[in-house]
């Protein structure tokens, strides 16, 4: 048993003064340069919520239009823009970002960390999201919003006559936001695995962390296929490369595959975090630990995996072989098992405890009831023959709203009621909350239940009006009335949040008597944990007496900030033993500048402004290199620092022990998934054609093999450089320089294959596919060159030494993935045509 620290009141005051100054949020307009998780989380959440309200208004506009038959309130074209933007904004700008917001806000406190490991990355993600979101939403005010439905099926969405610039805004604006989501995933995974309080072994983690770990992992595998799809789509729209044009060998079905490989896991990506909130709320209001902790882990992991086996159930009517449909039907039924398990776990917890029916519980329970109905219709539509009847009707609209509003929106509202005191120190009103709940619950069911019936009567989704004699009138009128009652409930909730609240007497950090660690934090202080506690229980506030007092008295780890830097603890993955004192980035403009510049690249691309695109790209590159140069892998003043409780920990670690290495690894897993999706595209076209090259010349075998060899050489040189650096041998610089030359040559050789064989990417899908894969690899080569040059410069500047070699360790890791990419690319492009011939 470690002996806790003991400080005199004067010492404590001095510690608090230092901590306060280190974690201070800047004032005035510099407030916006803050990177602290509590600010970024709040901005992220408020922004996502605002986008939700906007998309909700679009929904009301649609309901108003559909209230009566042959209505002409809005035009067909505006209606198309409204439903496309409604779906797009709800999914991409609300459902996913709000959970990133909640995670960034709550995770450090739940895990007992001062901060997530990459606060500036979170800030970068937020600014990217804000800019991309405004860009996408703003388009409707210029009558140029996307109008082809939120899943943008070609050929409708590739038709320039029909889908004007809106489709480009969708593709580029959302690609930009997907970058933000992947950034958040990296942050969350590394944070949960490595930044837990000492003693918080994996069997002690809060449920929320388990869910978020799985969700972030899902993002890594789900978002990249959409990014790959976006690349293909935008190449077709911008340069007429015929990926989805049947007359030139393309196939619109590839988009559907890539979209839904993203789109179905996406449903669970938004559902699991909401359920995770429930897993925090239910035990609190049952006043007992959750029943079946391991079963929840089963449910989270099981759902995470199975959700990737469901994507084709969105494509049951596309004419795939029936046996393929059957596989996906089977998986769609199987996913009901873990989903059911988590609902039964909640019911069991409530039965075993004494339930207090407060507002968060109302929203939670109401949401679960709605979600269960959506789940049951889900089991119905997972059966292919039923789906053939219900596909693209209002039955599906009803199903998906039951699932998303019940499984995601209600729990989020429950979470906001629950965590409002955590954010502001004050509770929301129970009376207003109950009113909001009943308006929302009744309004929702009145609004969406009739859609099942109008759907079964054949009403297709996405029609802007309907004739009187079809018998859909009453259902639609009721739906519209319900939708407005629902909106009144949401408005009540928003007013409750915004209305001025009376001052509360006394300080009550834990108004719900919760048992989890986050409730030890004082919202008035920006340091998060006053001292990082030792955890010995799943519900430390219930089971560890004096925890609160000891944390506040600074008796645990990191009670001070003598270095004047922001510090948090890194612990081991399984048993959470302290291994490092991590210094995280503080207040800075650079994440904002990088995000705005990168946003400039995407926006300029939309309008085909090539020069601004290039300028913004250069600014982005400079900003990111500057960010890395000044903010990462800083050589510390001493090897080890005192973290309290008589322990000294290293400040700088490299290789797999460091958070940076993990961030690189995780990013590259996502990157590899996008690459795999492109390769999937290559083989997809191979299966749809008897001769997939259609007689067009390939890149030959020679140049691809030359490129492959050069990439391997460059990879080996990078590894050699790492070893030489570790030995302090000056040959390291030579190896890096040679590596740069080899990579340049490899990139040129890669491009030479398709170039010298006269492959015209606009002529047919085969040359287009070859080009896009080669360009992907060459762009990665170019990034590899920047990294090698960066290491060389760091070495010359004395910022990368034998002992402090994080940079080259991480770059070598990148190069492992680079080599793998090159092997697959050139083996497939160079050799596969010979094998298949």
């Amino acid at each position: 048993m470690v002996e806790l620290g003991n400080f005199s009141p004067e010492e404590r005051a001095a510690q608090e003064e230092r901590l306060r100054s280190v974690w201070k949020t800047p004032g005035g307009w510099r407030y916006w340069t803050s990177v602290n998780n509590s600010e970024i989380g709040l901005w992220y959440g408020v922004t996502a919520f605002a986008f939700m309200l906007f998309a909700g208004l679009l929904g009301l506009l649609m309901r108003a239009q559909l209230a009566t038959p042959n209505n002409d309130l809005i035009s067909a074209d505006l209606y198309n823009q409204a439903f496309t933007l409604h779906g797009t904004v709800m999914m991409f700008l609300f459902a996913v970002p709000i959970f990133e917001a909640v995670a960034i806000f709550l995770l450090p406190s739940m895990l007992g960390a001062r901060e997530l490991p990459f606060p500036r990355l979170s800030a970068f993600g937020f600014w990217s999201f804000l800019l991309g979101g405004i860009f996408v939403c703003g388009s409707i005010f210029f009558d140029s919003a996307p109008n082809a439905g939120w899943f943008m099926y070609p050929p409708l969405a590739t038709d320039k006559e029909y889908a004007g610039i809106g489709a480009d805004i969708w593709l580029l604006g959302l690609s930009f936001i997907e970058v933000a989501s992947i950034a958040a995933a990296v942050e969350i995974i590394v944070g949960i695995m490595k930044c837990r309080a000492p003693g918080m072994r994996i069997n002690m983690m809060p449920m929320f962390a388990w869910y978020l770990l799985i969700v972030a992992g899902m993002i890594l595998f789900a978002f990249p296929p959409l990014i790959a799809g976006d690349i293909l789509f935008e190449m077709e729209r911008m340069f007429d490369w015929p990926f989805f044009d049947v007359s030139r060998g393309g196939d619109p079905l590839l988009w559907q595959h890539l979209f839904w490989i993203f789109g179905h896991p996406e449903v669970y990506i938004v559902f699991l975090p909401a359920i995770a909130l429930m897993a925090m709320i239910v035990p609190t209001f049952s006043q007992r630990p959750i029943v079946g902790y391991s079963w929840i882990v089963l449910a989270a992991v099981g759902t995470g995996f199975l959700s990737f086996g469901l994507w084709v159930h969105h494509m049951f009517t596309t004419g795939l072989p029936q046996i393929s449909l059957a596989f996906f039907s089977a998986a769609s039924e199987a996913v009901a098992i873990p989903t059911g398990v988590q609902i039964f776990v909640f019911i069991a917890t409530m039965l075993a405890g004494r339930v207090i029916f407060s507002v968060p519980m109302l929203f939670g329970a109401g949401g679960l009831a709605i979600f269960t109905i959506g789940g049951l219709t889900g089991v119905m539509v997972a059966l292919a023959p039923f789906d053939w009847q219900a596909h693209d009707t209002y039955f599906i609209v009803a199903h998906l709203h039951y699932v998303l509003i019940g499984g995601m929106f209600f729990p989020i509202v429950a979470g906001i009621y629950y965590y409002f005191p955590f954010v502001t120190g004050k509770k929301l009103s129970a009376a207003w909350g109950k009113l909001a709940f009943w308006l929302m619950f009744v309004g929702f069911n009145l609004g969406f239940f009739p859609m099942h019936l109008s759907g079964l009567r054949g009403m297709p989704r996405r029609v802007f009006t309907y004739p009187e004699e079809f018998g859909w009138n009453l259902f639609n009128l009721v739906s519209t009335v319900g939708a407005f009652i629902f909106a009144a409930g949401v408005a009540t909730f928003v007013i409750d949040i915004l209305r001025p609240k009376p001052k509360t007497s006394g300080r009550n950090l834990n108004p719900w008597s919760a048992g989890t660690l986050e409730w030890t934090n004082d919202p008035q202080e920006s340091w998060g944990m006053r001292s990082v506690p030792i955890i010995t229980s799943r519900y430390p506030l219930w089971e560890q007496p004096d925890l609160q007092a000891n944390i506040e008295a600074g008796r645990y780890y990191l009670p001070d900030a003598k270095s004047g830097k922001r510090e948090t603890l890194v612990t081991s993955v399984l048993d959470a033993e302290p291994i490092q004192c991590l210094r995280v980035g503080g207040v800075s403009y650079v994440p904002m500048i990088s995000a705005l510049a990168l946003g400039g690249v995407f926006i300029a691309l939309t309008f085909h402004w090539w020069i601004p695109t290039i300028i913004c790209a250069i600014i982005t590159l400079i900003a990111i290199v500057w960010w890395l140069w000044t903010g990462t892998a800083q050589i510390p003043e001493a090897e080890k620092v005192d973290v309290g409780l008589g322990q000294e920990l290293p400040v700088y670690v490299s290789g797999p022990a460091s958070v940076g290495w993990w961030a690189m690894f995780i990013t590259m897993v996502g990157d590899g998934t996008a690459f795999a999706s492109l390769i999937f595209g290559y083989f997809f076209y191979w299966t749809v054609h008897d001769d997939f090259t259609t007689g067009a010349p390939g890149p030959g075998a020679l140049w691809p093999m030359v490129a492959l060899s050069l990439f391997i050489i460059a990879w080996l040189l990078t590894i050699v450089a790492r070893h030489l650096n570790a030995r302090g041998h000056p040959g390291c610089r030579l190896a890096l320089a040679a590596g740069i030359f080899a990579t340049v040559a490899a990139c040129l050789a890669g491009l030479a294959g398709p170039y010298f064989h006269g492959m015209d990417p606009t002529s047919n899908v085969y040359p287009a596919t070859v080009w896009v894969i080669v360009i992907w690899t060459v762009v990665h080569g170019a990034v590899g060159i920047v990294m090698q040059a960066y290491c060389l410069a760091r070495n010359f500047a004395g910022r990368m030494t034998t002992e402090y070699d994080q940079d080259i360790r991480n770059v070598t890791l990148y190069w492992h993935f680079m080599a793998f990419t090159a092997v697959i690319t050139f083996a497939v492009l160079g050799l596969f045509p010979m094998v298949s011939a």
């Binding site: 391991s294 992991v301 046996i323």
Partner: protein, 127 residues
Amino acid sequence: MKSVIPREVESLWTLFTAPTVWAIHFLGCYAAVAVYCAKAASLDFGFAVVRLALGGLTVLALMAIVLSAYLAWRQWGFGSGDPPHDEPTRRDRTLFQGFATLLLSGLSFVAVVYAAIPLIFIAECQR
């Protein structure tokens, strides 16, 4: 005595073994059928061969999951202690991992069986 079965691995990743087997099996079934049905005209074997091969793959997958379940059961101490495994000890952490892995093996087993059912009932590449 040296055990033929690998020793306990101290890693978080073992948790994901059985679901990964499910994923490989699922993708294998999907890809094999998709490629066969697209290229049937140029292949000189029938759909029955694909079904048999995938049947074999299913058996392999189930065996792998059973192995993972056995290892998990062993890590759980063959059921010697009951959940919740919430003590702050390395032992309870290990037991928790074992139990969660065992549960996931069960789910993965069922999911693999589900995915194999169509192979019994569907005998051609009907569109």
